[in-house]
């Protein structure tokens, strides 16, 4: 089989359907959303074509600034915690026998694909007064009586890390699975303790992977829209929640679209950075 450039309609035909689908149902909706962000809102839930930047001007308000900085701070915290736990975990995971690895991977994939609705429901049950973990503390004599731990910032953080942890492991997994085992072995032969070898050889060797993963998890955490509503209080609402709220309940599509455009720009810039960090490692 010679791999040359395709010629003529017949050879191009297979790509027509996928290309059409992606352009019509992704590129056009996406462009439309950008267009809507400069449309003018008409009271009554609709909007009409225009070129106004009023929706973007609202970014300058203190309320929006507060939501934005809370979202970014929360996502950063979730990313740091997830990578901090997931990196050593994945490092051990790739050394397990194949069968045990697969069992863990199935478990992690199952949790990763759970609906946010289900994660939110499960965590609020776990932290509730009647069925929650505090009943266990009471039984152990650590607490006088059971109490509800949700909604709270802690509950939200726990739910988000729970959701992000499997994602983090799966992003780290390829890099750690491919890490040359001789690197660490050499360090051990030269007399390093396992802990020292981990921190002085493994971590520096994968520094860019860690940076790239942290950014990817950050973007992932920015996308959470239901957990803040289910596990947090209104002051814990993130940008994603605000976008949904404006689009559906306040029927202000132009403002929702403007915030979405902003979120796209932040996410794309970050993903670009992550790709750059990842690439540097491959060439190094």
């Amino acid at each position: 089989m010679i791999r040359r450039a395709p010629r003529g309609l017949a050879e191009h035909a297979p790509i027509l359907f996928p290309a059409l689908m992606l352009v019509v149902f992704f590129v056009i909706p996406f462009s439309l959303m950008i267009a809507v962000s400069v449309f003018r809102r008409v009271p009554g839930g609709f909007y009409e074509p225009d070129l106004v930047f009023a929706n973007y001007e609202r970014f300058l308000t203190a309320f929006f600034g507060g939501v934005m900085s809370f979202s970014l701070g929360l996502a950063a915290l979730v990313a740091a915690l997830s990578v901090g736990i997931a990196f050593p975990f994945t490092y051990r995971l790739v050394k397990l026998p194949r069968r045990a690895q697969i069992r863990w991977l199935v478990f992690l994939l199952s949790i990763l694909s759970l609906s946010e609705v289900i994660i939110g429901f499960a965590w609020s049950t776990l932290l509730s007064r009647t069925a929650g973990i505090t009943n266990l503390f009471v039984a152990l004599g650590l607490m006088a009586e059971p109490q509800s731990l949700s909604p709270s910032f802690g509950a939200l953080l726990a739910g988000l890390v729970y959701q992000a942890f499997p994602y983090t492991v799966l992003v780290l997994y390829p890099a750690l699975a491919r890490l040359d085992p001789y690197l660490e072995e050499a360090a051990r032969t030269l007399g390093s303790s396992p802990l020292r070898a981990f921190f002085t050889v493994v971590v520096p060797a994968l520094r860019n992977t860690i940076v790239a993963t942290t950014i990817m998890v950050f973007v992932f955490a920015l996308g959470s829209y239901l957990l803040p509503q289910l596990l947090g209080r209104p002051q814990h609402w993130t940008l994603s929640v605000l976008i949904t709220d404006q689009a559906i309940y306040q029927s202000n599509m132009p403002f929702a679209a403007a915030m979405a455009v902003f979120l796209v720009l932040v996410s794309l810039a970050l993903v670009g950075l992550a790709l750059l960090a990842g690439r540097r490692e491959e060439t190094a």
Binding site: S113, V117, T125, A247
Partner: protein
């Protein structure tokens, strides 16, 4: 020795924390009375029966299964020709479509959801049940695209050359040589998209939230009126279904390879 004990302890703790919410929900789901208590009081599977007998829950379950099946099938139909084309021909420009297929999955989902909302509203189809199938298919096309790219990448080109030398045209090569080799990747791509569509909330909600009730939408709507053991039962069913699907992928395919680790004999 101490290190090893600590490591197993840490792994055990992580497994416990990951399983804890599910275990508590499973416990709550077998309560005899309509209350969320743990440990459960009494034992009853009535709440599981209700998922299948109550028209609301059963309808949502069927809707979700139909939407997930159709959208996963459509996602594979979009991804297969694209991945094949990229593998068969030297066409760097076509990589743009691959990137396009990856984007919705990387961006925060609310963005894709909002894009679909404005699109379906603009073409006057907002709320039509079929729009969620197309939306999910495009949203999750990334998964079959990734598995199929891996699958085609793993095909030994010398087989293809052998077949071509014997006079097989592209179509015959695809049917008799390539297809059997990439079939596991087609199936796992379908399964990934199926499971994620089953669990997806925001896109479905923004596109057909007021006309169609998928299971995640139904659970979320029901949450507002208080928690019931039925939700716990639905959750347990969902978790089980998800784990079974991934278990099957692992059973029939090479899961570590699908997730990016090199196979042992590479």
């Amino acid at each position: 020795m101490l290190m090893r004990t600590l490591n197993s302890l840490a792994a055990g703790l992580i497994a416990l924390v990951l399983a804890a919410p599910i275990l508590v929900v499973a416990g709550v789901s077998v309560n005899e009375k309509k209350s969320l208590t743990f440990p459960p009081q009494g034992f009853s599977l009535a709440w599981y029966a209700e998922v299948f007998t109550d028209p609301g829950w059963r309808g949502a379950l069927i809707t979700s299964l139909v939407v997930a099946t159709l959208s996963a099938a459509l996602a594979v139909l979009i991804a297969f020709p694209l991945a094949w084309f990229l593998w068969r021909w030297r066409a760097p420009w076509a990589r743009a479509f691959e990137v396009l297929g990856m984007t919705p999955f990387i961006l925060p989902p609310v963005i894709t959801a909002l894009g679909f909302l404005s699109f379906w509203a603009a073409v006057g189809e907002y709320g039509s049940p079929w729009t969620v199938v197309v939306s999910h298919a495009v949203f999750f096309v990334t998964l079959p695209l990734v598995t199929l790219s891996l699958g085609f990448g793993a095909v030994d080109r010398s087989y293809v050359e052998a077949a071509a030398t014997m006079g097989a045209d592209d179509r015959t090569v695809l049917r008799t040589v390539v297809m059997p080799l990439v079939r596991p990747y087609v199936i796992s791509g379908f399964a990934f998209a199926f499971v994620l569509s089953l669990n997806e909330y925001i896109v479905a909600y923004m596109v057909v939230g007021f006309t169609l009730e998928t299971l995640p939408i139904k659970i979320f709507n029901a949450l507002r009126y208080g928690y019931t053991p039925t939700m716990a039962a639905v959750t347990v069913l969902f978790v089980t279904l998800t784990a079974v699907v991934f278990g099957l992928i692992a059973w029939f395919g090479d899961l570590p390879r699908l997730l990016g680790a090199w196979a042992k004999n590479d």
